[in-house]
Symmetry: C2
Subunit: 409 residues, 2 copies
């Protein structure tokens, strides 16, 4: 992409109502635009980051035989009434609206009910199990307060996966496959080392659920951990019984703020029973389907990664999800010709700042936008036919001959 061809500009300042550093930088650098509190448009660079995160998640889920679909925002109340999650006193974050033709509908805050309902069409025998179905979908949650930019939105993008199994053993086998896939995903997103699989409260049918919590000073959650004993607990399960079971004392735990980026839940019959999703087992008996659900907050992840790696100059994207690999700056006519060639041969690798901004402004924008590498060609580097590559994270600079650089692309 050439900077001169995009409508987006960077800004030195923005309105003061954004407190999270990630939100400030994402707005200033032109990744997102705020429609209202908790509701953000993704601009070209931001959409590329989102699509890159989705691609990584999609690859890892497809590898464990999950199938992608796309469900709807508008929700028929009926299945939600059956599960007891329609009334505003039960679920307080619904957006509800009315059909012209009559009848109330809601905007999906999650999709357990409609997918359980849909699977009644497709599951009737043990031969139809297991089934693993996921989507990337916009979720709507009518939060009283929405802050921290895309870390907690009223409209946000989630990956939600649902598993349908015949029994506990096959359910748990898949549950562990998802744990593994999630660890791979967070490794690929460069937050594997700071993302902990955490015990959290489980609900009716399971003692625990698991959350994936990324250490983050502005996170909304608090986790308690003991690295020697590999124990990580959400605050909500920090009680004597659980500590005893885990073999740790309260004194042995350290705490940190964190952001929940994913969760996995054994639902068992929580939705299959009220919605009557059942199958005939190998003995000819009718049983409820054992379900699990597995979420990843896609737009939140973008915010967490932005927040986590930012420094005092701007964003720093991991290579795996950066919108482009190189922020390309040319100083002088000959350098500009070479930069134009590089860009036209590899438009997906280079964000070429071909504006008439002064070099200092371009260097500042390179730091703000935070691509993994800055690539500078100038009359000075061209004396040795070289290009200067600077790592945005480490600040390390190296000079490569242009031929060597091109050969490595």
């Amino acid at each position: 992409m050439k900077a001169s061809e995009t409508f987006v500009k960077t800004f030195k300042t923005i309105s003061k109502d954004e407190t999270a550093i990630s939100a400030q930088y994402l707005l200033r650098a032109g990744y997102i635009h705020k429609e209202m509190a908790g509701v953000y448009t993704f601009l070209p660079l931001g959409l590329k980051v989102i699509e890159n995160i989705k691609d990584i998640i999609r690859e890892e889920l497809n590898a464990i035989h999950c199938q992608e679909i796309s469900m709807t925002a508008l929700q028929n109340p009926e299945p939600w009434q059956k599960s007891g999650r329609w009334a505003d006193q039960d679920i307080d974050i619904w957006f509800k609206t009315e059909l012209s033709a009559g009848g109330e509908v809601g905007l999906a805050p999650t999709h357990e009910e409609p997918i359980t309902n849909m699977m009644k069409k497709y599951i009737s025998s043990y031969k139809d199990l297991p089934a693993y179905v996921y989507q990337f979908q916009t979720k709507f949650r009518n939060e009283l307060r929405a802050k921290s930019g895309i870390l907690r939105g009223r409209e946000f993008l989630m990956k939600d996966l649902y598993s349908f199994s015949a029994d506990d053993a096959s359910h748990m086998k898949f549950y562990h496959q998802v744990e593994e896939a999630y660890r791979t995903i967070f490794d690929r997103l460069n937050i594997g080392d700071s993302t902990y699989q955490t015990f959290a409260s489980g609900g009716i049918f399971a003692k625990y659920s698991h959350e994936f919590q990324t250490v983050l000073p502005i996170g909304e959650d608090t986790i308690y951990y003991n690295q020697d004993k590999s124990v990580v607990l959400n605050e909500e399960v920090l009680n004597d019984e659980v500590l005893n079971e885990m073999g740790v004392t309260r004194d042995e735990l350290e705490s940190t703020k964190s952001a929940e980026v994913a969760n996995i839940f054994t639902l068992k019959y929580k939705y299959s029973k009220p919605l009557d999703l059942n199958f005939i087992n190998q003995d000819g008996e009718r049983e409820y389907v054992t379900m699990g659900c597995y979420g990843i907050g896609v737009s939140r992840l973008m915010g967490v990664i932005a927040e986590k790696f930012a420094d005092d100059k701007g964003l720093i994207w991991p290579e795996s999800i950066a919108p482009f690999r190189y922020y390309l700056i040319a100083i002088g006519d000959q350098a500009t010709n070479i930069a134009n060639d590089l860009h036209s041969q590899h438009p997906d690798l280079f964000y070429f700042d071909d504006t008439d901004n002064r070099p200092g402004a371009k260097f500042a924008d390179a730091d703000l936008i935070g691509l993994p590498y800055r690539a500078v060609i100038s009359d000075k580097t061209l004396q040795d036919n070289k290009i200067e590559i600077t790592n945005r994270l480490t600040g390390q600079t190296s000079l490569l001959t242009i031929d060597d650089f091109v050969a490595k692309l």
Copy 2:
């Protein structure tokens, strides 16, 4: 994809409330699932068709320097109040809801207002123009009646593109580029020959808009055309003044039912004036930005193409958007081994029906699901080491040696 690995099944019959043949087949073949009238989930095969249509549109729009973003469903009333499109008596298809924190919000039926509002941040000088920005976005329209499956939905997928230009001349230049891009898109979707660019009513700032209408017996529109004079009119502009201008008489026109798959509109100042999107021109004077908007109904297109090519046995997808190219059937153990090899080497080309259904049921499903080619390997074809390829559209069958077939993949 292997049929045994997908949760989706085909059905011989469905409930009788779907009248469109495309909706019946799409539901029976497992491309879509009905959540409620006008609201459909896309299943794995359906999502692939949608993504293939999006890829074609994206390629052609990127080629004319359009930039992709993703806006939001939730809408702040303010810009819509300024343009006079918020009140229910002005726009009767709004879904509206309330924020917990107080205040009404709407679900976007289209995005002229929020994008005009957003571009105020990015456009201030003639140097910032032109800008071409598009998205694939779910739109919400509170239709009193929703019928014909995905041909007219309450929640549906649209590509909407907006252009921002300095003057009429540069606006019209881009308008013609979009006309050309749209013709290429419809050619690639195999409906170029039956899709007419049609004069329709233009609104305040332009005499005409243009629609792209695909001839379709169950279409909601009627177009009037004279092929010799290359005149195609929407019913809404069929009056003496227009006929006179076009140089045709009413008697020279034939009519047909059609479905609107796209439209292009000169908006000029319709939104830039009330929302005060202006710029400083080369003479230092302040002017309103000249706008255009350009829509394509993505999910509707899927319905139109399904409806248009279907026969009495099922769907028939054009190769450019089919979810897979071959419906692979193996009869006998040796054939199954070869089919497994073919599928594992080209999982994106083959939908391998490895179920234990009888061959007759597999042939019927191949016709219903409507991939461009059926590929059959059996003990009989293997006597000459061959595979039987049948074109779903023409019914033509040819026998190829497996080596020749593999070489062509």
